[in-house]
């Protein structure tokens, strides 16, 4: 049975994790130290795994025979529903970690709420992914503390990254008629209720990291309706090229 709002919502959740997971995978072989290289690859793999479960369910709910691979490799840029925050280039290590922290803190609160969804399959995936998000958040928050309250150089870079990233966090709590329809059935939470606990957590860690929180975020939107920055197209070109060059290939 097709359920358009739900498949749309699952694409949003899945695409966030697919695109951010891909950005993290770009560090593989380039991490500042070996342990961190491995850590980023691990977190990337978790996010890709979560994306795979969410997109698989999106395809099932859509009911048109598309599986997670079809959705990941055969949609073009304007059909992706991820936040613009996650598609921005990885930047330096400080930028990668600050973004990861802002996203992990949001994802932690969102998945916690989705674990109580009236939709059993979504609740199960969320509860499972939340266990992983806990240690992602622990890792990224520790790095934010270390970089912010570190050397003059690390502090300056972390602050610059935060200043650049902060406006993009406005989109985290973006909601539209998709949310309204699903909220009425108890499938998803009101994202506005997640914003205060997210901000409290973020401000606590940033404060301890001696980083100054920029003033109010710009309410940038567009990702959820397929309007993206110039960066997503480049990312997708790399991510999709092998699957599109050799359709149906197995190894």
């Amino acid at each position: 049975m097709s359920d358009a709002p739900l498949s749309e919502y699952l694409l949003r959740l899945g695409d966030d994790r697919l695109v951010l997971g891909h950005r993290l995978s770009e560090w593989c072989g380039h991490g500042p130290i070996l342990e961190e290289d491995i850590a980023l690859a691990n977190i990337s793999l978790d996010l890709l795994g979560q994306a795979s479960l969410l997109l698989h369910l999106a395809g099932q709910v859509e009911g048109e025979g598309r599986d997670e691979d079809a959705l990941a490799y055969w949609r073009d840029e304007t059909l992706f529903r991820n936040l613009q925050l996650v598609e921005l280039p990885r930047g330096d290590f400080g930028f990668t970690m600050l973004r990861q922290f802002l996203f992990d803190a949001w994802s932690y609160h969102l998945l916690d709420a989705l674990g109580r969804s009236s939709h059993a399959d979504l609740a199960a995936i969320a509860a499972k992914a939340l266990k992983e998000d806990r240690y992602h958040l622990r890792h990224s928050s520790e790095w934010v503390l270390r970089l912010g309250d570190g050397t003059e150089e690390s502090h300056a870079r972390a602050q610059a990254a935060l200043d650049e990233l902060w406006p993009w966090t406005g989109e985290l709590a973006y909601q539209d008629e998709v949310d309204t329809a699903l909220r009425a059935r108890g499938v998803v939470p009101d994202l506005e209720t997640l914003r205060p606990p997210w901000e409290a957590m973020v401000r606590d860690v940033l404060g301890r990291a001696t980083l100054a929180v920029p003033s109010a975020p710009m309410r940038m939107t567009g990702g959820r309706s397929g309007r993206h920055t110039e960066y997503l197209g480049h990312l997708l070109a790399e991510m999709q090229i092998v699957a599109r060059s050799h359709p149906g290939a197995k190894w």
Binding site: E35, I38, A39, N42, I43, L45, D46, L47, L48, G49, Q50, S52, L53, Y108, A120, D121, A123, A124, I125, A127, K128, A129, K131, E132, R134, Y135, L137, R138, H139, S141, E142, L145, M201, D204, V205, R208
Partner: protein
């Protein structure tokens, strides 16, 4: 008549996790249910971590082992709830991990609050038993393991994370 379900379980005990080859998929708690009806054996599994690349291999291994064990039709079904956790690993299996050189997981805490900042949990060295160890990285060669060093016998070792 041989209990077919018991025979299927015995076969599954021979299917090892490719990344932790000392434990079977049953001992790890990945196999949640086994049913036999006629020629068909239905196995319900649950993944350890969402992105664990071994899961695909494990499913293929389960099918191959049961087929060669005389079950012509094998169905593998995946469930996500309740989420896999390390409390499903038995004491005997924990001892196998330790003997293999991997420090076994501790009990999963009832309420896992998000700790901002490192939580210090003592992990005993699987080689000499010393508690004088330190965490090198929460991320290891696989999603399920972290890296530690023992300061008594100076041996680096892996720990099967509590999850």
């Amino acid at each position: 008549m041989v209990d077919q379900r018991a025979r299927a379980l015995e076969i599954l005990e021979s299917v090892k996790d490719p990344e932790v080859p000392v434990l079977s998929v049953v001992e790890l708690g990945i196999v949640r249910e086994v049913r036999v009806e006629g020629d068909t054996v239905a196995v319900t599994v649950t993944p350890t971590y969402s992105g664990c690349p071994a899961m695909h291999v494990i499913e293929e291994d389960i099918v191959a082992a049961l087929r060669s064990g005389g079950f012509p039709i094998v169905e593998v079904k995946t469930v996500y709830a309740p989420a896999w956790n390390t409390d499903w690993i038995s004491d005997a299996s924990r001892e196998k991990l330790r003997a293999y050189g991997i420090a076994p997981p501790g009990p999963v805490p009832a309420e896992q609050l998000v700790p901002l900042g490192r939580t210090v949990r003592t992990v005993s060295c699987p080689y000499c038993g010393s508690a004088d160890t330190s965490l090198e990285s929460e991320f290891g060669a696989t999603a399920c393991k972290s890296l530690h060093t023992c300061h008594s016998c100076h041996q680096p070792f892996e720990h099967f994370k509590t999850f």
